[in-house]
């Protein structure tokens, strides 16, 4: 393996870390619109361009709807395309999220997670990306600035090989605006890892000579992208798209393995990372930065002899149901953290998926859902300890409420 030399330890906030990843990943076109707390990403990229440190086209669009539309156009024209957004910006992209995914276009997007309006609130929760969970994008949630950097780089490999768009999230302010130590690999290492975007090739029909030609907007070999598709084919196309999502699992794993080889950070076992779960009776499972705090609490409770552990889910789409089932079966109780609501549902989006995955297990644990941190509300170690203690004493009784709020005034 090639030796690229030392990684540089830099003091970066999460947004800057993402901008560094974009700068190093041979991105051709960025199309983005500013929205708090994503703004530093686009500011930093602009700085890189204006200082001649990166050669890319930055389309400073007039809305997020256009940001994703332009990214789609750029990707179809053969470019590696990136965009970033948050909250209402992602909501405005909603229509195009589905179109990008359904045309199998490998756009990479970073979402600095922020609460959706109303009321307007600029702080962190996951209502934005959770709202997009059914749109056909791969979703990977980052725990810290380092992971936001690493995930963004890997996202280009995953998107282009799986031919699916990838959404990388980082918690607004908690990660996006907090200065952390980030190991940045040498430019050459990242450039070689992601390569230049390779255009997928398709086989021409027999009458045209069975040649393999690039699938892009190209006058040499014209294709029609985005046709009307009615009841005689649409259904099959949707099933194929769902199959593509499933088929992305090994692609995601491979990208992590190879990235681990050059960086020392492979985030194995990739889809979810268990923490002190070997002999645990009770586990709290959740996403993103809050899990750093949960792990600290696990350490404290372990000192008191309590058999607790944590699982940080990284890949939410495709949802690793088999792995979750294997990991959680046999436990006494699982607390699932959700930083968003699914109004009117029996719990938040993560809990719904986890409970559903466990249903076919013969030794299923009790599943309790804790909704926390909406609109940036702090999740203190004390609250997490309270949840753990509740789970340790859990009695599985159907009349017990299984969905609770953590840290809300009553």
């Amino acid at each position: 393996m090639q030796d690229y030399g030392e990684q540089a330890m830099m003091a970066l906030n999460g947004d800057e870390a993402v901008a560094w990843a974009v700068k190093q990943s041979n991105v051709d076109v960025v199309a983005a619109y500013p929205i708090t707390p994503q703004t530093i990403i686009v500011e930093k990229i602009s700085e890189f361009i204006h200082n001649g440190e990166v050669d890319l086209e930055f389309v400073k669009v007039e809305s997020e709807h256009s940001a994703l539309s332009a990214s789609w156009g750029a990707a179809l024209a053969g470019a590696r395309a990136f965009t970033a957004t948050a909250a209402n910006g992602l909501a405005l992209m909603w229509e195009i999220l589905y179109i990008v995914a359904s045309t199998r276009t490998p756009v990479v997007m970073t979402v600095a997670n922020r609460a959706l309006s109303a009321p307007i609130n600029i702080h962190n929760d996951h209502s934005d990306s959770m709202g997009a969970r059914d749109s056909g994008w791969i979703q990977i949630y980052s725990e810290d600035a380092q992971e936001a950097y690493d995930n963004t780089i890997m996202a280009f490999r995953i998107a282009e090989e799986a031919m699916l768009p990838v959404m990388i999230t980082l918690d607004g302010f908690t990660i996006s605006h907090t200065l952390q130590n980030v190991s940045v690999l040498p430019d050459e290492a990242i450039s070689n890892f992601v390569g230049i975007r390779e255009i997928p090739r398709i086989k021409l029909p027999e009458i045209h000579g069975e040649k393999e030609v690039p699938l892009m907007l190209n006058p040499k070999y014209p294709v029609s992208i985005g046709p009307l598709d009615l009841y005689d084919y649409y259904f099959e196309h949707k099933v194929q798209q769902n199959e593509a999502m499933k088929a992305s699992i090994p692609v995601i794993e491979k990208a992590h393995k190879e990235y681990g080889e050059i960086s020392g950070r492979s985030y194995e076992p990739v889809h979810m990372i268990p923490y002190r779960t070997e002999d645990a009776d009770v586990v709290i499972l959740g996403l993103s930065s809050a899990m750093s705090v949960v792990k600290k609490v696990v350490d404290q409770l372990r000192e008191d002899g309590k058999k607790v552990g944590a699982i940080r889910l990284r890949v939410f789409r495709p949802f690793p149901a088999d792995i979750i089932r294997k990991e959680l079966s046999g436990l006494t109780a699982v607390g699932v953290l959700d930083r968003s609501l699914s109004f009117g549902a029996e719990g938040g989006p993560v809990a719904l998926e986890v409970r559903s995955a466990l249903y076919s297990s013969l030794s299923k644990p009790a599943v309790y859902n804790y909704i926390y941190g909406l609109g940036g509300r702090e999740l203190s170690p004390k609250l997490i300890a309270k949840a753990f203690n509740e789970l340790l004493e859990v009695k599985v009784e159907p009349e017990n409420p299984t969905v609770k709020y953590l840290g809300v005034r009553e």
Binding site: K60, A74, P222, S224
Partner: protein, 329 residues
């Protein structure tokens, strides 16, 4: 005055070019007499190099691509209704970057030297798409936006749009007992576009093929964004005979309902028959001649609705006078 185009279309040459560059094959599902089909062919005839087409949602998209078929012989992409100009912005940015670094210089299977055309209807342009067009024009992306204006949402069943003219019957401006047709006037889309100070904007009527093609060529050659407002007869939505399509396109110009002009770097210049009407106002035909061929205006010919024709004529006269002033008459 703006300089004249050097390139003069020659009909024999155009016929040859059309066979060679034909963007849409026959067998598409556009209605008989649809103006859009003619406009598409004229765009291709005016091409100076290969074209990549971006299509907003609308009649053309629906009628040319039902999976697994496509009528398009050229690279063609459709994303959504309101974002064709944003998609074109991305395509242009990609082409710029990839050409700059010679990405496909050694790949004989890829061609990057192309012009970008966006095709949008009046709904996708006057209404839902205006934001992305405005943004793209402010950013000076090099592409030609062609508005095929059939003056209502024809694809969804003839609902009124910002481009629907006064008095016209649509399914959302029916001719009722109290309100008869659309009570409002057409949005001045060209004024809005020209306010963006883009290098080239023009109106075309396919009936005047040489004028149309010369302008389309100028649009391709413009140093930045270009906008072509193409008048597009819709027999289905207008209640006109398919064989009258070109006649209606001609009458729209002769009545000054749709004058022909171009704006080059903010300088207005009348073209074609609009010049002779400007010089000899007696040549301006009354709008009744244009209206009477279309079922959507039929109610205006009832004696009790005559005021509608007068009101429409008054508005047309004012628009025309304002244009004359801008064009230096």
């Amino acid at each position: 005055m703006a300089t004249q185009s050097v390139w003069r279309p020659n009909i024999k040459e155009l016929a040859r070019r059309e066979l060679k560059t034909r963007p849409v094959e026959s067998g598409h599902r556009l209605c008989a007499g649809c103006g859009a089909g003619i406009i598409i062919r004229q765009i291709a005839m005016a091409a100076r190099k290969s074209i990549v087409w971006i299509n907003a949602t609308g009649c053309v998209e629906v009628a040319t691509t039902i999976f697994p078929y496509t009528s398009w012989n050229v690279p063609w992409a459709h994303n959504a209704f309101e974002n064709a100009a944003a998609v074109a912005s991305g395509v242009e940015a990609a082409r710029k970057k990839l050409s700059r670094v010679g990405r496909f210089a050694n790949d004989p299977d890829v061609e990057l030297d192309y012009d970008i055309v966006v095709l949008g209807g009046d709904g996708g342009t006057y209404d839902i798409g205006i934001q992305s067009i405005s943004g793209a024009f402010e950013r000076r992306h090099k592409f030609m936006y062609v508005l095929y204006d059939n003056e209502a949402y024809m694809n969804t069943g003839i609902q009124r749009s910002g481009g629907t003219p006064f008095g016209a019957r649509t399914t959302t401006t029916p001719v009722g007992k109290v309100i008869k047709g659309k009570p409002l006037f057409k949005k001045p889309i060209m004024d809005i576009i020209v306010a963006h100070q883009i290098p080239y904007a023009a109106t075309i009527s396919s009936a005047y093929w040489n004028d149309a093609i010369a302008k389309l060529r100028k649009g391709f050659e413009a140093d930045g964004p270009a906008f072509i407002h193409a008048f597009s007869t819709c027999p289905l939505g207008w209640g006109s005979a398919p064989e009258d399509t070109v006649k209606i396109m001609r009458l729209a110009v002769e009545t000054c309902v749709f004058p022909l002009y171009e704006v080059t770097n903010r300088e207005y210049r009348l073209t074609g028959p609009s010049i002779s009407i400007a010089k000899n106002p007696a040549r301006k035909k009354p709008i009744e001649e244009y209206l009477k061929l279309q079922g959507r205006f039929r109610h205006m010919f009832k004696p009790e609705n005559k005021w509608m024709i007068d009101k429409f004529q008054g508005w047309i006269d004012k628009q025309w006078e304002a244009l004359l002033k801008r064009a230096g008459y």
